[in-house]
Structure formats: C-alpha cells, structure tokens
Amino acid sequence: MAQLTSDNPILQLEDVRQRYPNGHVGLDGVSFDVATSEVVAIVGPSGCGKSTLLRCVNGLETIAGGSIRLDGQVITGPGVRWELIRQRVGMVFQEYELFPHLDVLGNLLLGPLKVAKEERTEATARALGLLERVGLADRADAWPRQLSGGQKQRVAIIRCLMMRPELLLLDEITASLDPEMVREVLDVVAGLAADGMTMLIVTHEMSFARAVADRVLFMDAGRVIETASPERFFNQPATDRARQFLAMFRFDGPPQRGGAPS
C-alpha cells in the first residue's frame, strides 16, 4: 500500500494556501494526494501548519488559494455545502470535545439521528457494536465527565465512525492524554488502519506514526518539506530540517562536558 499516491486518490490537495486574519501564513502552497485506505501521518514542529491543514480539509478554516478535492469533487470555493462534506470527513480533536450535556450513547447518536436522520434502533445497535469494539460496552450510559481521557477519546473516535466517514482526520488525539492512556487510543487507530480506513493523522507520537502510517509528510513553515515512507523518513531523512526535527525526539543523556575539573 505504501507509496501509492494517485492511483485512486480520495483526497487531492493542490497548492493550498491559507492565511490567518492576523496576517500569519498558515499554509504556503501545499499539494499532495491521499489514496483510498491510505494512512498518512503529518509531522513537524509546532506551528508548522499541520493542524491548520486538517482544519482546511474539514472547512473549519477557509483557504485563500489552491483547491481541495474529495473523491474528485472540488470542496473549496463558494457555494460548498460543508455540512454535507463533513458527514463524509470525520474529525477527532485533541481535547475530545464530547458533548457534556449528553451521555456516551447520546453523543454517539446525535449525528446519526439529527444529521443523517437514521432510525434510532438501528443507530443504537451500531453504536453499541462500536462501543464493544473499543472495549467500552459497559459505558454506554456513562456521562463524559465520568470517563478517563483515554475513554473519552475512544468515544470521540467512534462518534465520528457513526457517520460512516470516507476519510478520518485525527488532530493530535493523544496530546492531552496521560502516557498510560495513549496506548489504548492508538490501538483503536491501528485497528481502523488494518480495516482499511483512510486517515490523515497529525501526531507527535513518532513511533506510532512509524508503525501505522503508509506515508509520512514532514511539514515546516506552512509547506510540505519531505514525503517518504516511514522507513525512509525515520532512518534516512532527506532534508536537514527533518533531521533536526527528529533529533529533538532522541534523548542521549546530557551533552558530555569537555575538560577536567580543576
């Protein structure tokens, strides 16, 4: 699956540019394709534009130039009905964003019932199935504030799956979690990858990106600097900036001090 770029692209970005109201450039000409069932990890230093990129794909930011296509259809520009696009593109946020006024099942059913107008019994059955799958079968009636961070994030992921998205955007979904809970969330994502879910993942978990991604995009200053297979990117990064970036994740103990104590 690796290296597939344009055989069967579900998402195509072409020279996407974005600028914040304060003048800060978020994206400075980003182009790449994502194939169906491909998992693309986007890595890079903070402020490099990787989260902005995800938000553009979901219409939460307006792009200033270029185009984004979903399944061949241009989804940027005037007159786009984002509420229809967003049903096909799921997004999971760093802070889970479960709805605190609804219990777990209520969170899962809100989209299917109110947006997709599904049958309640059928949607409930599907919700319970997904809960079972992520190991939360007994928490359907729990309230968000009664859940641990890892449990919340698993619910947030399957809340997206309830909409049967064609593409899933994961924005730093483990960044707010205690270390011991990262694993349970990443296991769910790995399971989705194995099932062939197309995903665009922004992450700081390098070992996870390496394990689950088909391709790694390295971004800096609003541009894609390097695109490679995980093997290549993590073993022999092609650019200096990628090498510097990866070096930050390695800890070899304090630097050796030269000279003898006097």
Binding site: Q87, P100, H101, L102, R145
Partner: protein
Amino acid sequence: MDVNTLLDYLPLFAQAAVLTIGIAAMGVACSLVIGLLGAIYLYFRTPVLRQFFAVYIEVSRNTPLVVQLFFLYYALPKLGLVLSSAVCAITGLAFLGGGYMAEAWRSGLEAVPPLQFRSALSLGFKPIAALRHVALPQAMARAAPALTANTVFLIKETSVVSVVALPDLVFVAKDLIGASYNTSEALTLLVLFYLLILLPVALAAAALERKLRHGEFGT
C-alpha cells in the same frame, strides 16, 4: 385593620392579579425569545443585525420601564401608532426584558467552548443545528441563574403597568386608597398578592440554581 374590608376587596385584587400574571407571562415569554435571537446574532456575528442588537441592548438596559411605557402609550400615537394598554405593557416589558435576556443568553453561549461548536460542525451539523443541539443545551444550563433572576425582575417590573391605565394590582390598591381611605387593608392585600405571585417563582428559581450548581451533567 378590618378583616371584613380585606375580604370585600379580595375579589378585586384576585382579578387584578390575573391581569398582572398574564401581562408578566407574555412579557417574559417575548423577552426570552427576543433575547435568544439577539444572543444568536451576536454569537454568529451576523453583520448589521449584530450592531442593531448591540445598540438595542444598551438602550433597553439603560432606560427605565416607566419612561419606555410613557413613550409607547403617549408618544407613539403622535406617529399614528396607537397601541392598546395591554399591548403597550407587553411591548414595554418585552423591550426591557429582551435586553436583559440577551445578555444572559450571550454570556451562557460564550461560556461554551468554541471547539464544542466546531466539533458538532465536523459531524456534519449545519451551524444553526449545531447551535440548537450542542451549544444551546450547554448554554442554557449556564444561563439559567441569570434567566430566572431576570424573570423575577420582570415580574416585579410589571408593577408599573398602571401608568398605561391597566387595572393591575397597584392600580386597584391606589384606587381603593384614594376612594375609601382603607389604606392599610389595600396595602396589605397589595403586598400579600405580590408575595403570592413572586414567592413561588423565587423559590423555584433558587431550587433550579441549586440543582444546576451541584449537578453538572451526569452526577
């Protein structure tokens, strides 16, 4: 104080109380709706309407109801707009209350994290549906204490509607004081009837607030 006089006056006050309650209920209902609309336009930063409501809120909150009612009842007819006493009273209450309720709704909505709204959008909700199903239910819980306090405030403000010639509780009391000199009886009934109307509302408001303070969603 004479008990027989009290009993004689009772039906008069009961009738006036019905009027007071009716005007207050209509006024509160209208102001809740106006306030919600204003808060939504402010929330979505709808051009023009947002500025309109910002000015309206300041005007309604910085002028007294009595003056608003004088204007509606005595000045507007000079522009050819003649409103009945009851319509004047309800319009005045709605005008005053709309500003207060808009502020209450707005601060409730502002307390809901923006990402909640965005994550509803990302599920495919249209903005107005995201507001209705996700932002508003949370805003309502946060705004409830202010909304109920405003409700009590508006019911109290209803006491001035006699200036537009409505025979409410105050009107009846004043009438009896002027006509019969049974001042203590009239005043006693006036106070009692307002207690009767406002005490249950105030107690319900306090109970609601206690419930919301202790029971966030899911405890």
